[in-house]
Amino acid sequence: MTVQELPGAAAYRPTPPPAWKPLTDPAPLLPDPEPYRVLGTDAAAHADPELLLRLYGELVRGRRYNTQATALTRQGRLAVYPSSTGQEACEVAAALVLEERDWLFPSYRDTLAAVARGLDPVDALTLLRGDRHTGYDPREHRIAPLCTPLATQLPHAVGLAHAARLKGDDVVALAMVGDGGTSEGDFHEALNFAAVWRAPVVFLVQNNGFAISVPLAKQTAAPSLAHKAVGYGMPGRLVDGNDAVAVHQVLGEAVARARRGGGPTLVEAVTYRMEAHTNADDATRYRGDSEVEAWRQHDPILLLERDLTGRGLLDEERIGTVREAAERMAAGLREQMNADPVLDPMDLFTHVYEQQTGQLREQAARLRDELEAEHDESGAEERR
């Protein structure tokens, strides 16, 4: 290396490092400073009444589903239920915003989204009843299995959306995750892959304030969870998660962008988990009544009902009809869940591999012998 002849220091302009390209403008990626709202604003007047009423019906049905499922846990008919009471606007909007060919990737809390998308209300609950891990064929309604390990479903959504795009199919994937789930490495890796691949996927974070007992402030120091989008180069959107119309609009725009090749979006819906984490949890250990009470005034059904009633789209009678429909659904669910599921223990060995391995055949044979012996014995007892 030789010392080069140089002009005086002041004479040369600083040049950027050679490969440095001017930055993409981060401004369009940044979320607005406050959650987007429609209900109670002038914008509500422009919303499609039919959609509003559909949303309302699903919200009421969804709430009823939640309360019924929680009741079933008390009756011992459901092992555990993570209720989405208070979050129905997100659940329902996520389901309704998708086309039939699209895919939904729910977390363990999102049975309701699956049901709103058309899944049988009982099939959606097998995981939580304990008879089957996944009570449905994911391909039938294009709903991935309800996912328990947090955030792990997000890369699946990216891979599926990517695969669909490669095949030339017009398919969007919508993946749901909680505020707590955003801290997991899989959240990061999924969003990064999605942005690099421009995969047609929408990430919906339901920020319901808590990860079990841990409040958002112990989860992140970010201005908002939507701000995380900038770091991946995708738009971040912040929406009032209890305003079903707003959530539907924001998700709708994100789905449309994904569909036209514009890549992924991160949507943070600010909402609140009105019930405990699950029926097994005791929420009084980590939060006060006043907080819950304040959110009760911001109930998603209340917000929409107010708006629709205020604008004459809804009256006591129509409300009654909607509630009756929800009651019928609940009654059906109750009845169906009262039947004990019929299970074949031999199923344990059927789907481990496509072809049963020798050792599984041996183990299956052993269990069959045991069951037969049990059967003979109880038969013998009966005969006695």
Binding site: A79, V80, Y108, T126, L127, L128, R129, G130, D131, R132, H133, T148, P149, L150, G180, G181, S183, E184, G185, D186, A211, I212, S213, V214, K218, Q219, T220, R285, Y286, P341, L343, P345, D347, L348, F349, V352, T357, Q359, L360, Q363, L367, E370
Partner: protein
């Protein structure tokens, strides 16, 4: 009884029924009280006291900095614990459920297990990773895994599994005091098991690495640990009526492994069955059976048999009873120990 003895008795405190969860909580509390470098961290361990309430009261007594609700990220939790241990703290990490320790696998295997060795002893990592593990509590998918096979195959980790209330306290204290990383597997379905126990003067227990004969016997040896110990004890009782006097060995730790106690028992009885809940194939039972056979070959009247979970993903709760090794399967295995040869 002398007055001195009475006073000692009083100081020792009353012996009351305690659950394993309570004994574990007490162990954490006492360790934190004695050693200011002991820090507890994990998901929901603070305000909530953990989903199994094992850490209940710790944040209140020692403050948020000593018992910390972390963000929800297991690799981050264990990785941070590695850094804390590098600085001289003694972190105790709680993983919420067995399968939720998997995101931390790389930190556990590539760092926690290897740091002492990598630095030739300069930087030991006194980390305890508490993992509520195993099934039998009706948990949904991913809440009932038995993953001790992964940990025991990882040199550098200790793998400890209490099966009694006394051991829960004693082994956890020892694990926290250890200068090495310990994976501490707490059998979920024993959390609420009770025993008479004194929180004020907990009985000392054998050191980690020592197996204990929980029931002496002469016909055959049941080798087990953790959630399967009660199953084996029950099986041993039931076996009496069949004419078998079974010895039950509680391993208490897979690493270190107590070859002496196990081999001595099998040499005496000439027959052995390994019982665990983890899947059989590639599970601890293979290693144990192989070790025992290497050491006791000419004393064995029959091959060492194994009773284990099936080689399947953990089933839905309504099916788990078919999967879990119970008393009948243990007795069935004992029956297959070629007793004909005897007569």
């Amino acid at each position: 009884m002398t007055t001195a003895a009475a006073t000692a008795g009083e100081r020792a405190g009353a012996v009351r029924p305690a659950t394993m969860a309570q004994a574990l909580g007490r162990a954490l509390r006492d360790a934190m009280a004695e050693d200011p470098t002991v820090h507890v961290l994990g998901e929901d361990v603070g305000t909530l006291g953990g989903v199994f309430r094992v850490t209940d009261g710790l944040a209140k007594e020692f403050g948020d900095d000593r018992c910390t609700d972390t963000p929800l990220a297991e690799a981050g939790i264990l990785g941070a614990a590695v850094g804390m241990a590098m600085y001289g703290l003694r972190p105790v990490v709680e993983m919420q459920f067995d399968a939720f320790a998997y995101p931390a696998f790389e930190q556990l295997v590539s760092h926690a297990a290897k740091m002492r060795n990598r630095t030739r002893g300069a930087m030991p990592l006194p980390i305890t990773v508490r993992v509520p593990y195993g099934g039998g509590i009706g948990g949904v998918e991913h809440h009932s895994d038995s993953s001790e096979a992964y940990y025991m195959a990882t040199p550098g980790l200790h793998v400890v599994m209490p099966a009694t209330v006394e051991d829960a306290y004693g082994l956890l204290r020892q694990s926290i005091a250890s200068d090495d990383p310990v994976v501490f597997l707490e059998p979920k379905r024993l959390y609420w098991s009770k025993a008479a126990w004194s929180a004020e003067a907990p009985a000392p227990v054998e050191p980690i690495g020592r197996a204990v004969v929980r029931r002496p016997g002469r016909s055959a040896t049941l080798i087990t640990y953790g959630p399967s110990l009660p199953v084996c004890m029950e099986a041993a009782e039931a076996a009496i009526s069949e004419g078998w006097d079974l010895e039950v060995v509680d391993l208490r730790s897979l690493v270190p492994f107590d070859d002496e106690t196990v081999a001595a028992s099998v040499r005496r009885t000439g027959r052995a069955v390994v019982v665990h809940e983890s899947s059989g194939f590639g599970g601890p039972g293979g290693e144990i059976a192989a070790r025992v056979t290497e050491r006791c070959f000419h004393h064995l009247e029959a091959p060492v048999l194994r009773v284990a979970g099936f080689d399947i993903p953990y089933p839905p709760p309504m099916q788990e009873r078919h999967h879990l090794p119970g008393v009948d399967r243990v007795l069935d295995a004992v029956a297959r120990l070629q007793w004909e040869a005897e007569s």
